[in-house]
Structure formats: C-alpha cells, structure tokens
Amino acid sequence: MTITDIQNKISEEFAVFDDWIDKYNLLVEMGKDLPLIDARYKTNNHLISGCQSKVWLHAAYEDGKVIFTADSDAVITRGIISLLIRMYSGQKPEDILNSDLSFLDDIGLKDQLSPNRSNGLLSMIKQMKLYAQVFKLKSDTESNH
C-alpha cells in the first residue's frame, strides 16, 4: 500500500468515532500493535528529544525500504508513534520525504500538531524523515559508484 492509501485507511478508522474519547481509545489500541524496538536499541542514543514521554525509535534500511521500530513509556505517545510507523515503515525513503501529513488534521489530531505540544509528534516525524534522508543519500551515493 502507498502512504496515501494507508493514510486514507487510518482516516476511515478514526472517522467512525465522533467523540474524542473514542478517538483516543483507538490511539491507545493502536499503540498495542506497535512493532517494538529491539531491547538492545532502547538506549539514550535512540531517544527522540522534544517529547515529554520517552520515545525510542530505530530505523533499518532493507531492500530499498525503511523499517521502523519504536517504543514509548506513555500509551498515547505509543499510539501516535505506531500510527506513524504504520504509515512509514516499509516505504521508500523518497516516498517518506515527499509524504503529505494533512490527514492528521482529518483524524482529529490537529491540536496535537502545534510545535509547542510536548507530545513530540513533530519531533517524531522530523526524526523519521531524517532517517529517510540519510538512507536516501546513502543509496544515491552507492548507486553512483
């Protein structure tokens, strides 16, 4: 599935609920499906700064695709990062870099998006895109040789 397909699917899942409580419950549920980071990567090196809760993120590059794993000590944060991973993990670096995130507005997470929000949603997206950028550069350099 393309990133847009996945975004549409996530939007549909959230659209079922009107009440914010149900939306957050869904987010908490999503957190339970998070592809967990390997324990050996759960170190300060893999912490994303800018979050009030701890978020560990690991990225690997396999067959031209970025594979993300993560964990958090807060369940809402775990839900947010799992949603991002569902969207980005297994995608090509350039698709991640070119992705549009306006769907987050639709699913009612818009108020979580402001930069001063301590949940670190923006920091997570920035870090994921940074990994994509690095992998892209690496593969560009390799194909030039």
Partner: protein
C-alpha cells in the same frame, strides 16, 4: 468577607470553554490568571503614561517615574523591607537569583568554596549556584529530604558546618508543595554567619512574607505567579549586601558618569537595573500585590487550605493513587501518579476534558530522580478555584485512569 464569586468575576480568562468544556485551571503554580485590574493597569500605562522613566524632564516621564517608584515603595511595604531601595526589579525570580549568584556569589566565592541548597529546588534556584560552583571548582552541597518531602534539618546542620558561602533555599516547593521552615533555617545559618537567599516564587501568592521577621538576606519572586504580569519580579536584598555587591549588568540607567576610560555607577537600586525596565509589568505587579493585600492573605490561605484538603481527600479514594509531597506544612499543590499511568497520558486526557494541569518534572528533575519517577501530574490551586472544579477534576481523573489502565 471572602466572596469567591466576586473574586472569580475579576478574572476574565477563567470564564471560557476549551474543547467545549468549561475551563478548569489548576496550573497556578506555573502561572496564575490575571484580574481585570491588572489588565486595565497595563492598558492605562500605554494609553496615558507611556514614556521612558528616570531620564525625562517632561511631564509624562515624570509621571511614569513616580508610578514606577511608587511600585517599588509598595513592593517594599508588602514584604516589609526596611528601605525601598532594597527592592531591585528584575524580569522574574530566575533573573533575581541569577543576579544574586553572579554578583553576591562571585563576591564571596573562592576556589573550593561551597554553596548549600536543598533537594527540592526548582532549576532556577539550583543551576545558577551549581554553575557558580563549577566555575570556582567549588562544591554544591544538597540538604536531603525524606519520603514525605520534608527537609532533613539534622543533615542541614551538619552541612552548615562545612561553612558554605551562601545558603539558597526554596520557601515552598513547586513540585511537592512543601513549605520549608525557612525562618529556622535562616537562624541556623546566621548562627554560623552564613547569608541566606530564599526563593519565594511559590510563596508570595499564598502567604505573608516579612523579610525582617525572616531575617533573610535575599528574597526573590516573580509577579506572574501571584496574579501579576509576566516579565516582572524582584530581588529583595539587605542594604548592606546590595551596597557591597558589584553591578550585574552594565548599560544605561545604572551608571553615574561615563567616559571612555572609566564608569562610575549609580546608587541603589539603579546600579542593578541596567537598561529600560519592563515598566508596565512592574506597575501591573503593584496592582497584583494590591489585589492580594485587599483579598487578604488569611482569607486566601483559608480558602486554599480548604481546596487542598478537599482535593486530597477526594483523590485519595482513587485506587492506585500515589502522592508526592506529603509534608504537614504544605501549599495548595498536589503532585500525584496513578498506578503505572504515565503523567503525560493522564495530562493529555485531562486537557481534553477542559482541565489544565501540569505534567512532567516541573523544572525539578532532581526531585523526580529522588522518587525515581519520570514526572508527576500536578494540580495547583489559586484563590479563585472552587470545590466544584475539584469535583469535575476528580471525576475526570477517574475517567482518564479507567481509559489508560
């Protein structure tokens, strides 16, 4: 006569909805809302009085200068300073403590000197002293606390025997609510000729401060935590210290005469007030202090104690709740966690229910480390809060805890 409704009427920001729910504002230890009188005072300054103070010969400048100096006299009377020029206006408690650390601290520090703080300091009253110690290869001594969040006075005595050059203690802990026995601690330090700075950021809105009775050498607070505007605060210092201290910042206003070879400095308090001050915030601070005086510390304390006791009793009924900071002498601050629920999760859901609380380490990471927790949820009450709001809050906490467990 304490009229809660009449007080609430004075705070326009309280009467709004967030996410379609009536706002319940329990983040008062971070900053309080402002009564109309302050909003109008600031507006009046810009409508009628705006001009640069202390310099102009013209009418407006003289009016503004007089208002500014009246604010100083009032602040002095509020905390019972002997002289108005013992009040140095700053942008807040943080700058006040930095002023003391940079000027007074440097004057006293020698290589290897020590400074004594407590285990419950806000970063503002910890990092400036720590950095000073690093600069002088000195030692930062920390008075420990117990599990209830009370200072260990026996350990304090022993640490005083190491002859620190200054003791810096918080009057009231922002993270735990503990009210420290500062008067006793000051007397103990003075018995050994050690001066004491008191961080009063969490005290000034809740309890009467008499710097002569406390006999503290320095006292710092911010206006914005006491119904006043942001960007104003003060450092009280005993005249004998302020006279002896070198300037902290240099520039306009704080000078007497300037040539390219040398500069002589202005007298107190101006020698510590370089540059154009935040005049409207200082005037707003005066109005805020008058609001507190008119409401009365006794009435404020009685009401806030009622809120604290009621909220503590209601929250205690929630299974798995843990309170951090259970000192018998406690301000209207409740720091807590429920089971394994992360404070961020709880705070996020409370926000969605219209309730503003603080989550995280509250700029007191060492306090969180002591309890070995990532942070807490903190509800802090002000004079305008109600028991009805506490009912809403407790119901919301229960609902959120259910969702998250």
């Amino acid at each position: 006569m304490f009229d809660l409704e009449a007080i609430r009427e004075q705070f326009p920001a309280l009467h709004q909805k967030v996410y379609n729910k009536p706002l319940v504002y329990f983040d008062n230890a971070a900053t309080t809302h402002k009564p109309l009188a302050i909003i109008e005072r600031i507006s009046h300054y810009y409508r009628c009085e705006n001009s640069n103070i202390h310099r102009g010969v013209h009418y407006l400048s003289q009016q503004a200068t007089e208002a500014f100096e009246e604010a100083r006299r009032f602040a002095a009377s509020m905390i019972n300073a002997v002289k108005a020029h013992e009040i140095i206006f700053t942008k807040g408690a943080t700058e006040a403590i930095n002023l003391a650390a940079h000027s007074f601290g440097r004057m006293r520090m020698k290589p290897g000197s020590s400074i004594l703080v407590t285990a419950m300091e806000h970063h503002s009253n910890l990092v400036p002293w720590q950095q000073l110690c690093l600069e002088y290869n000195g030692k930062l001594l920390v008075t420990p606390m117990d599990e209830l969040g009370q200072i260990d006075l026996q350990a304090y005595t022993q640490l005083l025997d190491q002859q620190p050059v200054i003791v810096a203690i918080t009057h009231t802990s922002n993270a735990l609510g503990t009210i420290n026995p500062v008067k006793t601690m000051i007397r103990m330090a003075h018995d050994r000729n050690i001066p004491v700075l008191v961080d009063g950021a969490q005290a000034i809105a809740h309890t009467e401060i008499d710097v002569q009775d406390l006999d503290c050498d320095f006292f710092a607070f911010s206006a914005h935590k006491a119904y006043g505007p942001m960007g104003a605060g003060l450092l009280y210092g005993k005249e004998k210290w302020l006279e002896a201290m070198p300037p902290y910042q240099f520039g306009g206003e704080m000078v007497d005469s300037v040539s390219f070879d040398k500069t002589t400095f202005n007298v107190l308090p101006f020698k510590f007030e370089a540059g154009t001050p935040n005049v409207e915030a200082v005037l707003g601070m005066e109005t805020a202090l008058r609001f507190i005086r008119n409401t009365g510390y006794e009435a404020i304390a009685t009401h806030e104690k009622e809120l604290l006791d009621y909220a503590t009793a209601q929250l205690s009924q929630i299974p798995g709740i843990r309170f951090f900071g259970q000192a018998p002498e406690k301000a209207s601050v409740i720091s807590f966690l429920i089971g394994d629920v992360h404070p961020f999760d709880l705070g996020t859901l409370l926000d969605k229910m219209g309730i503003a609380v603080r989550t995280g380490h509250h700029c007191a990471q060492t306090v969180m480390d002591f309890f070995n927790i990532p942070g807490t949820v903190r509800a802090s009450f002000a004079v305008y809060n109600t028991t009805h709001e506490i009912d809403t809050f407790v119901a919301a906490v229960k609902k959120a805890a259910l969702m998250l467990s």
